[in-house]
């Protein structure tokens, strides 16, 4: 059976796809920022925050890392309303992605912190650094430097994983693909174009992170 590809219908709706792609990028960027901030905070707290704090954060990290994002999203979008908290799809997606991303970044940054020789912290203490200064200059910055490549690949996974939020009808790129599919009855062509857009975003992020890694960390020397 010969099949004629017809991309015309898809290309007519490129503006819709661009809008979807924009939301994908916005959601991912927001989740990355949230993931980085919370991840860094949690990683420091988990290392220096005492037993109970460390256990609480550890539980959160393991719970998120060992269950599917899709189920987490359903809990937030379908579960929270039964507790009286109703969220619109985009907010639910944003919360889900951030909560998910932060668990992974916590673990990545923590392993960066573990890589710091304890002698460095002792040396800083001996030089009368304040705790804040130690965390900032001796712990966090070098840890981020070690963690940067892993964080970069994690962020790309976050962006790719954002396609899942289409299931709660957040109008991002994949959901836009669904809409076009039902309008054009050309699912294969639609999803090829959508996939190409994802590839373009992923490659751009790859280049961006490689550049940021060099720009921020390389000149100051590796650990």
């Amino acid at each position: 059976m010969a099949y004629t590809f017809q991309f015309a219908a898809v290309f007519e709706s490129l503006d819709l796809l661009a809008k979807g792609a924009l939301l994908t990028i916005q959601l991912s960027a927001a989740a990355m920022v949230a993931g980085l901030l919370f991840g860094a905070t949690f990683a420091v707290l988990r290392t220096f925050g005492g037993r109970w704090v460390s256990m609480a954060i550890g539980t959160y990290v393991e719970a998120i890392r060992n269950t599917p994002f899709l189920i987490q999203l359903f809990l937030i979008y379908f579960g929270l309303p039964s507790l009286g908290i109703s969220l619109d799809p985009v907010t639910a997606a944003l919360i889900g992605m951030s909560v998910n991303c932060a668990a992974y970044t916590t673990e990545i940054i923590r392993s960066g912190i573990m890589a710091i020789p304890s002698g460095q912290i002792e040396a800083a203490r001996a030089l009368a650094f304040s705790t804040t200064d130690i965390i900032r200059h001796i712990v966090l910055f070098p840890a981020l430097r070690v963690a940067a490549p892993a964080l970069g690949s994690q962020f790309i996974l976050v962006m790719l994983g954002s396609s899942v939020v289409s299931t709660v009808s957040a109008d991002e790129l994949t959901a836009t693909g669904h809409i076009l599919e039902t309008q054009t009855f050309r699912p294969f062509e639609v999803y090829i174009v959508v996939t190409l857009i994802y590839l373009a975003i992923a490659f751009t992020l790859k280049l961006l992170f490689a550049w940021l890694d060099v720009a921020w960390f390389s000149r100051r020397g590796r650990l």
């Binding site: 393991e62 060992n66 790309i156 996939t195």
Partner: protein, 221 residues
């Protein structure tokens, strides 16, 4: 309206069987593909190296959901109907293969050059070098991240529900539609996934400590 009780729980547990089966299929299919890709990546042949590199790059930069859709609708175009079972098998294997291939490539390349040179000096053929010198050392390096990625595969089988495959996530959605108790239903689903995944996570961590592999894994998710 039904409430969430034992029969519903058993229904989800039965569906979890498909989550396990799907994961196993992805391990076998992805493992075979990953092995080929890893050896292509380290081969002398430039074309093979580049082809494997591009394959891994493309599949690591495509959302698994898109992969599922493309295979699902693509198979329909070539006359295989809309067979969710087949589509999920193919898509999950291609996806897992790309990551396994990358992990194992890293493990092979992590073996110090001196090992290659020494075994060459001892007159080993390329096959013997791999068989007796390189692979035994790579396996040690590769095991923790491989087990870690196996957890990702289990979790990602949940996406099969979106193209209508009846595994644990789809069964939970079904039960939720009957009972309207999303919190209990999805928490139970999460617990089942956790019980499947956490032992592997612990195993991966223990192996990492035991085998003294302190390098960060190529796949951190």
């Amino acid at each position: 309206m039904r409430s969430f009780g034992t029969p519903e729980f058993l229904f989800m547990l039965q569906a979890a069987r498909w989550t396990v089966i799907l994961s196993l299929i992805a391990y076998v299919g992805g493992g075979a593909l990953g092995l080929v890709l890893a050896f292509m990546r380290v081969s002398q042949n430039r074309l093979a190296r580049e082809a494997a590199r591009v394959w891994i790059l493309l599949f690591q930069c495509t959302p698994l959901l898109m992969l599922l859709f493309l295979v699902f609708f693509g198979l329909a175009l070539v006359g295989y109907g809309q067979n969710a079972y087949f589509a999920v098998t193919v898509a999950m294997s291609c996806y897992a293969g790309a990551y396994f291939g990358d992990i194992w490539r890293g493990a092979i390349q992590a073996v110090p050059r001196g090992q290659w040179q020494a075994s060459a000096a001892l007159g080993f053929t390329t096959f013997e070098q791999f068989r007796y010198v390189i692979v035994p050392q790579s396996v040690r390096i590769a095991t923790p991240p491989t087990v870690g990625f196996m957890v990702q595969v289990i979790k990602n089988t949940s996406l099969a529900s979106i193209i209508g495959f009846q595994e644990l996530t789809q069964a939970s959605q079904f039960v939720n539609n009957l009972t309207f108790q999303p919190i209990s239903v999805y928490l139970v689903a999460a617990a089942i996934y956790f019980i499947l995944c956490f032992p592997l996570t612990l195993l991966s961590r223990r192996l990492e400590k035991k085998l003294h592999v302190d390098r960060p894994s190529p796949v951190s998710a």
